[in-house]
Amino acid sequence: MTRWRKVRAVAAFEMLCTVRSKSWLITTFGMPVFVGLYAGVVSIPIYLETRQARQVAVYGVVDEAGVLGLDDEVAVRPIEIPPEIRSAVEAAGQAEALDRQIAWFRNFVFRPFSTEERARAALADGAIRGYYRLAADYVATGVVESYSPETRTLGGSETRRALDRLLVERLVRGKVADDLAARVSEPISESRDWLITKTGEVKRTEGAARAVRVLVPIGFAVLLVMSILMSAGGLIQTTAIEKENKVVEVLLSSANPDEILIGKLVGQGVAGALQMGVWVGMAAIAGVGFTGALSAMGVEPPWLGMAAVVLFFPLAYLFFGSLMLGTGSLGSNQTEAAQWGMAWALLAAVPMILLEQLLHAPHGAAARILTWIPFASPTVVVLRLTVDPSGIAWWEVAGSLVVLIAGIWFTIRLSARLFRVGIMLTGARPKLSEILRQARLR
């Protein structure tokens, strides 16, 4: 019989020891600072490049073909942003940043030169960054020559795209109707996507929504494997420390292995949840506009998937954590214990290995089978509920939960027995058959 008072005592001690350790404090609060600093360092060259790009970039054009009809300098008009993207970016409070980025395109100015010699002289004076020459047979050949100093190339995609836009606009201007000219200039101004469900229902969807539906489960899967790996490290370390410090016998004389194992799982789990909470909180503060952005795009946040995460993640942690704790205790040192932990972590990563297939067919045979296997079900169910909630039956979710809970009950009992044998082991590791025999005998 498990005495919860003992479990609570073990859990409180484990949790307090963990959250008061330097390594936990540094990881929890130092990681976001590190990520922030890293982002800052990485963004410096990007900032400098952007700043340089914001300066007016003047290019010469020698139009021997006479297709541009330029009398004076011309700035290429900014690119069009799809309305749904613009409204999402505005909802996220990033309209100003978007405008700054768009302004970058306004800085392409094309200056006409009557002869190539004049253009070359302007280049030599530094008045232009380079120039393009459209030969007399340009319309027939489509060949455009670019000239630039040795230190710079005109091959940059943005410059080329700006010239493309200018050419398309000037080639059709006055030759076709204005609306047709506008369409040639911008063949797709807005994209509308539709989904057809299995029942034949037609549903509106957007590219952004699809991207969210793909990215969210990937994020969940990564988060699950990461949290299992990190928590397992703590669990394995705490047992190894007790073996090294020889406090095991006192512990086992005060609480039974089930109580110690559950206490450790809960204590380390709470410490892990606190750490995740701090990180998620900081991330939420940093990206407070994310939800607004999703709704502006017409994307419903994957509430069902998120609810499943809240339900399945702690269960997944208990399942894998108990296995790691039980088998990890058989290791005679931290390295051996960690090897056991890695074996389970690899099993936890199986859905990630099959991710492409699961995303392609979220309710296919593989996904349906994995729904019932506790090693994979937490990730797979969350993925199915996020990608397409309509394709998974309620009894599949309930059934996988029942199987997972039964799996936890079994692994905790098995691990407690292994833990009882393993935690008392010192020196050379006995054979697996001997371990199993002792676990059976108790």
């Binding site: 005592a9 020889k246 406090v247 016998e249 006192v250 004389s253 001997e434 108790r442």
Partner: protein
Amino acid sequence: MTVLVFNELRKSYGETVALRGVSFEVRAGEVFGFLGPNGAGKTTLIRILMDIIRADSGSITLFGEPHRREHLDRMGYLPEERGLYTKQPVLRILTYFGTLRGLDRAEARRRGREWLERMGLEEVASWRVERLSKGMSQKVQIAATLLSDPDLCILDEPFSGLDPINVRLVEELILERRGRGKTTILSTHQMSQVEQLCDRVALIHRGSLKVYGEVGEVRKRYSLPEVRVVAEGDLPPVTGIQKVEYEGDSTWRLLLEDGTEPRDILAALVRAGARLERFERVLAPMEDIFVRVVQEAAS
């Protein structure tokens, strides 16, 4: 009153037999010496008592009831293989061990402070264990064991690593417990401490009980019929003495003939005019008994 009864306990590890049907009792309020050479099966028996491992057969009665895990909250255990969390502060560990024994957190913390004071360690409450000397660490572990004031306490080699002053401190703690009717099982290889502290003993060897009973009675059982006499002047000849050996400093050791009681010799010496200053039965030291029992079993 009996607090603990071992009844025919048997335990094997594969082909190795650790206990071969061990039975004995421990009474309330006594200091009970649990002795045996290394590998005799002492640790196995203690681990069975503490529910760390299970016996293959046999039974244990604790506090008048069949052995249950709940009884462990009334017990304390200082194992031979022991240690503390080296990176944690002393008081936190004491509080933890107290809560594991059923105390609430505040009470465990209060008692932890009290015990540190009692052990002369009040200044180390906030120290990490790794800062403690071996002796300090040993005292902290004893404090952790006795913190919950257990009715039955098992101390396995509690004196190892302690200087004579701290040995005396721990001896006093054990005797103080006996004065309050608390039971202590003392497992040690220091036979002088067994003679000094224990009321009764059990000695096991190769999983079998070899010696069991009151310390004085056991020592008598394994002693020759000898008396030691300190007297002024010469010792007059009396009948019933097989051999006389002068040990110096007016002290004689007399080996009695079979069937002669020490009180007969005392009366005869007084009648013969011996000026006696001291007369005592020579009892075999526990150490000699230990060695003899183990060697006899080996031969």
